[in-house]
Symmetry: C2
Subunit: 164 residues, 2 copies
């Protein structure tokens, strides 16, 4: 009986809970801003013969951590951009000697990844370009107050269902 009802219930759910216009507008703008910024950053990096942003993204987290480096899944959790194929992204970084994989003592399945001197050098070269683009395309458009306001709204949108 419950089983019989379920498909209907699902359908009803699908008909409801659709977003308001205001919500959709924010959603659309979120995408437009994101896309524009990412395009600009990509362009700047390329124009300066720098590696793509996802390299920076990983290297930065490794640099932040320092010490014994990070497990791959930890990188995945922290990174800004999409985390699929991290394995192969790290392959590429390793091939360029920007990171090193070390066997992991506590857990024989995994490895610990550490940034190298060369990796840090890449961070140093990328940041001025990356940071400047953020500032020019984004920071300059908003006051510090507006940035904070934006952050708090975004944080709320993130939900951060602090179950962890």
């Amino acid at each position: 009986m419950w089983l019989q009802l379920q498909p209907l219930a699902v359908n009803l759910l699908l008909m409801k809970n659709l977003p308001e216009k205001t919500t959709i507008q924010a959603w659309v703008l979120l995408h437009r801003v994101h896309r524009k910024l990412l395009e600009q950053v990509g362009l700047s990096l390329k124009n300066n013969d720098l590696p793509p942003l996802d390299w920076y993204d990983v290297l930065l987290e490794l640099h932040r951590e320092g010490g014994e480096g990070l497990r791959q899944y930890e990188i995945g959790e922290r990174v800004l951009l999409n985390k699929h194929n991290l394995s192969r992204l790290i392959d590429r970084l390793e091939k360029q000697q920007l990171v090193r994989r070390n066997a992991c003592e506590e857990d024989g399945r995994g490895n610990r990844i550490k940034i190298t001197k060369e990796g840090k050098e890449v961070l140093r070269r990328v940041w001025p370009v990356y940071g400047q683009t953020i500032q020019k395309e984004f920071g300059e458009k908003l006051s510090q107050n507006e940035c904070s306001e934006l952050s708090s709204l975004l944080e709320k949108a993130l939900g951060d269902d602090k179950s962890a």
Copy 2:
């Protein structure tokens, strides 16, 4: 002489105009929210055996336009997601009969793309799932006022250097 100075000038520029902490924080959150939402939407679509979001993105713009459809470059301008390889995305849509390419009268180089009945049907099937995910993962977290506030900040960040 000017040529001699330029590299220095460029370097100086690179050292300056770096973003404030507040800016960076907003930047990071923007990415996190975007990534999370896109992941959720992708998941919902897949779980319901629906095509990827970029199909919807294109089909929606075509539907909005109606009439004689859109040129490919117009689609590129309107679409939410990244616009590279639009040509081949449209190939795929056309292969599924969701759109049709017609020769373009005013401009022999281009074509006009129109959504088909089947394409509209896809829109109808996708929206409930897409919309519901937007609402659940995003809309519900913010009040309508907050959404408006967010929109106006994002609009400002977009800059919209109304040169067009």
